[in-house]
Structures are given as C-alpha cells and as structure tokens.
C-alpha cells in the first residue's frame, strides 16, 4: 500500500469560510452570537425578548436556521428587524457556507448585533464555527439537570449558558444548582444566566452582559 499523509481537519473548509465571516463582521463592527439548544428550549423567545430590550438603542439583525418552515423568521420579523431564514431541508446544523450566503441579504454596515439562531439540536451545531464571537447554549429546566454531562461538546464550546424557563421550576424535577455545577464541570469558564422569557426574570442581566460584550 502507498500511504499519503494528510494532516488536515475534516471541517477545514467550514473553518476557512467561518474565518472569512469573522473578518467581515469585525470590519463592519458587528458583534455576533450563535444561539444553540435542543428543539424548543426557547431560542426564538430569547431572541424576541432581547430585541424588545434593545429596541431603539441598537441595530439588530437575525439569521434564523430551521430544518423546515420560516415560522421563526416570521415571529422575529414582527419586531421590525432585518431577518433572513435559512431552511436546511433536513440538515441538522448551520454551516459557515449557509451563513455566508444568507449574510448577502443583510446590511452589515448598519448592524451592531447579529443573532444567529441555530437549528434545534444539542449535538451537531457544536462542531461548526459560523464566525460568531460566541456560542450561547440555551437549556430549559424541563430538559433535566444531566444534559451538560450527556452533551458535553456543546457546553465545552460555548461561552455562555442561558438556563431558561425558570418559572417552571416548581413543576419539574430539575435541580438548577446541579444543572449549573454539571455545566461548570464541563466548562469552568461558562458565564451562566438564569432567565424566564415568560416572566422576564433575568433578561436584563443577560442583555447587560451582551451590551458590555459589544
């Protein structure tokens, strides 16, 4: 057998496109987050609350990733912000190529804050750099406190953890301190926010953090 050495990441192409995106964002002074979670943890609701909070003070653009339908983009466009929907047609994650294409229909010059909502999936999006400044992983208390241990890569690769639906804590069997400490065991540097998008609790702290990061 002839052996050809090839030291290269499988996702090298994605990473190269992600670097292009990162430079384009930097040039235009855009701060970008990539929001990831399992289906239904409350990503779109968090996007809505965040837009409401910054309304009139910051120019936000949104990229919505879904397997099917533009329902999330419809929800977000009700807030009068530029939004592009990416439909992956079965694809379980966004990749940098999809994001780069969708960015063509956004005006980066007039954007301060770009929110990318990934496809609902706690596994696959973890490995794909989209050129964002940080990944934000959302988990709702209804999912259980063991999820960081079961899906470590997502927690390892994120800078921020938003624990959502804390209004439901009285009704579910989830120990939020256990959830937090499991997440911090995987990634001691995680910045953790406890919020309820329904009652608004904790949203100010999350938004202050974003404002200070920009």
């Amino acid at each position: 057998m002839e052996i050809i050495k090839i030291e290269r990441k499988v996702l090298a192409k994605n990473d190269a496109v992600a670097s292009e995106i990162r430079s384009a964002l930097q040039e235009n002074g855009v701060f970008a987050v990539n929001i990831v979670s399992s289906p239904g943890s409350g990503k779109t609701t968090l996007v809505e609350k965040t837009i409401e909070h910054f309304s009139g003070r910051m120019n936000i653009s949104v990229i919505e990733g879904d397997v099917q339908t533009d329902l999330d983009a419809q929800r977000v466009s009700a807030y009068n912000v530029p939004v592009v929907q990416i439909i992956t047609n079965g694809g379980c994650h966004l990749d940098a190529g999809l994001v780069k294409d969708s960015m063509k229909s956004l005006d980066l010059v007039s954007t301060d804050f770009l929110i990318i909502e990934n496809v609902g999936n706690l596994v696959c999006p973890a490995g794909y750099d989209l050129g964002e400044d940080m990944k934000v992983v959302v988990i709702s208390v209804t999912e259980g406190d063991d999820k960081p241990l079961k899906y470590p890569k997502m927690f390892m690769n994120s800078k921020v953890l938003v624990i959502n639906k804390i209004d439901l804590l009285p009704y579910v069997n989830c120990n939020i301190n256990q959830l937090r400490s499991n997440a911090l065991k995987i990634n001691p540097d995680l910045k953790v926010f406890e919020v309820s998008c329904t009652t608004g609790e904790g949203i100010n702290a999350w938004c202050d953090f974003i404002e200070n990061s920009i």
Partner: protein
C-alpha cells in the same frame, strides 16, 4: 445526522487530494476521531459507504482511530482519561486544566493499493 454531511466533506477532500485516476485504487481513509468530537464513528462509516456505493470510491473505506479524552492538570501535573469530559483534575480537584486530546476530527492518511486490480 451530520455524519452524512461530514461524509461528503471527506469525499470533497479526497477528490481535491487525489487525481481522478487514483480514486478507484483508494482503499482506506484514515481518520482520527476524538471521544467528544460529537461524531459517531459507526454512523460516519455507514454514511460514507452509502454515498460512495456505485461510485469510483466504492472500494474505499474509513479506518477510524478513536482518540480518548485526556486532561492534564496545570497544578499537580496529573494526566488522566476521565469517563466524562469534565475539566476538573481527578487528583487535586483543580479546574486549572488543559485538554490534551479528545476533540479531534481530522485526516491522517490515505492508503492506496499500488497495483490496479
């Protein structure tokens, strides 16, 4: 199921690296996959087989080297392979640790049969 899209990324790299004439004699694509890379090796091999069937790459298969999660403590210098990718030192409990391996998802080599069968 991002294994399917990874399989097509792998094929893209193969086609960029090898000439068209070399493709049918490619036997093995050696990959290193870390324990917390998020990739299921069996599923990746299955996807690769499914999309290369009937193509010039039908004779090639994936050879996967599993890389364990390894952590080194900056405080007490202990190296360990914890069951979960927990960033705390098993020995002294410090969180001042570095990951040595476990997130790999990369090519190592291609094996090509020299004589055309």
């Amino acid at each position: 199921m991002h294994e399917l899209s990874l399989a097509s990324d792998i094929i893209d790299t193969v086609k960029q690296t090898l000439s068209h004439e070399e493709l049918p004699s490619l036997r093995k694509i050696v990959l290193e996959i870390g324990a917390y890379s998020g990739v299921v090796p069996d599923s990746l091999s299955f996807s690769f087989e499914a999309i290369t069937a009937g193509t010039e790459l039908a004779g090639a298969e994936l050879e996967i080297i599993n890389i364990p999660f390894r952590l080194k403590c900056n405080q007490c210098k202990t190296e360990a392979e914890p069951e979960y990718p927990i960033m705390l030192c098993e020995n002294c409990g410090s969180s001042d640790t570095v990951v040595i391996s476990g997130d790999e998802l990369k090519f190592k080599e291609f094996k090509i049969s020299e004589s055309e069968e």
